[in-house]
């Protein structure tokens, strides 16, 4: 016994103690520095944007059209275009993503190879660079699907075979699909087994159980997924670059086959292709501020809903 104790003591109080303490302090320091750098970068970015953008940021800026070759005026069409984009995108992606998530969590058996393949695809889809989605949208939706529709139904007249809101939204929905699938899956998993069993034991079918018990309990999860997808979609530019975003439009889009303006794209062209980049600097910053506020507040809402789900899951 004594021998063991002595050995233990040696382990705990050996001369190595001092060395490891210095190492420990060093690594704590490194981690603190890393955290500090991240926070500092965030605040510098936010600070510059708010500082530079606040002068131009006003109700008038949000509610009026650009004027004078887009060197003056507001961003109304870009804001509206962004809204339409995310709405059409959600209409396409949310039901599709929800159904996929229901299949994965409720129907696929644990060792289903097909489900594993779907999960792998979803994960892969989530890491595909967004510009690839843009190119895919151009090739598949516009040149294949759109042009095909024109040939088949419009007698070859060009209508759907060119960039527009519909194709841009569908392209964006592919990009946001993984976000929705994963959030809905998470939400479905928080519904306790006891509740499913209660329903099944009453003679409910699996689908009745999903419809009456599982889905109503997952509404907030589906909402979180939607909001995260929307906020991601609102900020992305690459997928809509070739599929529907316009440099400038004098009117708001009136149909799904129209092109549209978009906040992110607006920032991009204002800072690279404007007739007077210097002069439009305040507009660029204010537009960035609007976009940032939009996505930040959406994310905030998602975080609040998600924390509620987590609390319920416990």
């Amino acid at each position: 016994m004594d021998k063991v104790n002595i050995e233990l003591e040696n382990q705990f109080f050996s001369s190595e103690k001092k060395g490891s303490d210095i190492k420990g302090k060093f690594f704590v320091g490194v981690t603190q520095l890393a955290v500090f750098i991240i926070i500092a970068v965030l605040f510098i970015i936010l600070g510059i944007i708010v500082y530079q953008g606040r002068a131009k940021f006003s109700w008038e800026f949000i509610s009026s059209f650009p004027t004078n070759g887009m060197t003056e005026g507001g961003i109304l069409p870009a804001l509206i275009g962004t809204f339409i984009l995310v709405i059409v995108m959600s209409i396409a992606a949310v039901p599709f993503g929800t159904i996929t998530a229901i299949y994965l969590t409720e129907y696929a058996s644990e060792n289903s190879k097909f489900a594993a393949a779907v999960r792998f695809s979803v994960r892969t889809l989530a890491v595909v660079p967004s510009i690839i989605f843009g190119l895919f949208g151009l090739g598949f939706f516009i040149q294949f699907l759109g042009a095909g529709v024109d040939t088949a139904f419009n007698g070859g007249e060009l209508r759907w075979g060119q960039p527009n809101i519909l194709w841009a939204s569908l392209t964006m929905s592919l990009l946001t699909l993984p976000v929705i699938i994963v959030s809905v899956e998470e939400a479905l998993k928080t519904i306790p087994r006891e509740l499913r069993e209660a329903s099944l034991a009453l003679g409910a079918t699996k689908w009745q159980t999903i419809k009456q018990v599982v889905l109503p309990g997952s509404v907030s999860g589906i909402m979180t997924g939607t909001i995260l997808a929307v906020s991601r979609g609102a900020g992305e530019v690459a997928p809509i670059l070739f599929t529907g975003a316009a440099y400038y439009l004098a009117t708001l889009p009136g149909s799904l086959s129209d092109q549209f303006m978009n906040l992110g794209y607006h920032i991009y062209i204002m800072s690279t292709q404007s007739s007077d980049v210097e002069k439009t600097m305040p507009i660029q910053f204010a537009t960035t501020l609007v976009l940032l506020l939009l996505t930040l507040s959406l994310n905030l809402v998602a975080v609040v809903i998600r924390s509620r789900i987590r609390r319920r899951a416990k």
Binding site: L195, E197, A198, S199, L202
Partner: protein
């Protein structure tokens, strides 16, 4: 023969390779309370869940042998599991009301079966809640969430919910194990009243509860049915040494 509700013949259950129930054969009488007792992990709950095919939900489970309910093998591939579960209700160990109103909890089963008529639903809700001896406590707040009820009330609500689909058989998986003594005695009283109309099979850890509530008792040990008989006999002069040891508290 007519008095026997369930015939079990050589029923075995495997979790993957592991054999959890070993050639169980027993006869469960109609309109009586049958208690399943035995130490934790002896297979009594697993056996109970065989009776309404709740084990179907676990992919690795395989079952051999026969489970005849009124002469029909419920594991026959022509049998619809949904209909089985409508006839054989289940009350779980942990009360599990839906996060809906008290009314909607009871109306859930009938609605699933396609009943839409409001007056009929109202009637079923009231009758079921009365049968479960909880009507007086909740009649003024049927629209409130069921989650606001106490644990004992929730469990009686779950019993009422089961009664609402008018089953023949009610399976109870340690229905009072999480409840205080007063709620427990209410549940036991309820079991006693319900056996007039229903065949009840109750899993319990509590010896006194088995002795108080049941007509027949089956003792399970290590996946085997050791002994089954009249509750009186099992508790006073069991045939098997293992049963006696368990009942007198020498193990388990």
């Amino acid at each position: 023969m007519k008095d026997i509700k369930i015939h079990v013949n050589d029923l075995s259950l495997y979790y993957g390779e592991k054999k959890a129930l070993k050639e169980i054969s027993m006869q469960i009488p109609a309109n009586k309370v049958t208690a399943l007792i035995g130490p934790s992990g002896c297979g009594k709950s697993t056996f109970l869940r065989c009776i309404n095919r709740m084990n179907d939900l676990i992919p690795s489970v395989r079952i051999t042998g026969e489970m005849l309910v009124e002469g029909i093998d419920i594991y026959d591939k022509n049998v619809d599991v949904v209909n089985i579960r409508k006839k054989i209700g289940m009350v779980f160990q942990k009360s599990n009301p839906f996060p809906k109103s008290i009314y909607e909890n009871i109306a859930y089963g009938p609605k699933i079966n396609g009943l839409k008529d409001k007056t009929q639903l109202d009637e079923i809700v009231e009758v079921s809640l009365r049968q479960a001896a909880i009507w007086d406590e909740v009649k003024d707040r049927l629209g409130d969430s069921a989650l606001g009820l106490s644990g004992g009330q929730q469990q009686r609500l779950c019993i009422a919910r089961t009664l609402a689909v008018s089953p023949d058989i009610i399976l109870m998986d340690e229905p009072a194990s999480a409840l205080d003594p007063i709620s427990t005695s209410k549940i036991e009283e309820l079991v006693h009243q319900l056996k007039e109309q229903y065949t009840i099979i109750i899993v319990t850890h509590n010896m006194q509860q088995a002795a108080r509530t049941s007509d027949h008792t089956a003792f399970f040990y290590m996946g085997e049915l050791i002994e089954m008989g009249k509750t009186n006999t099992i508790f006073t002069k069991p045939l098997q040494k293992q049963t006696e040891d368990y009942i007198t508290g020498r193990f388990g």
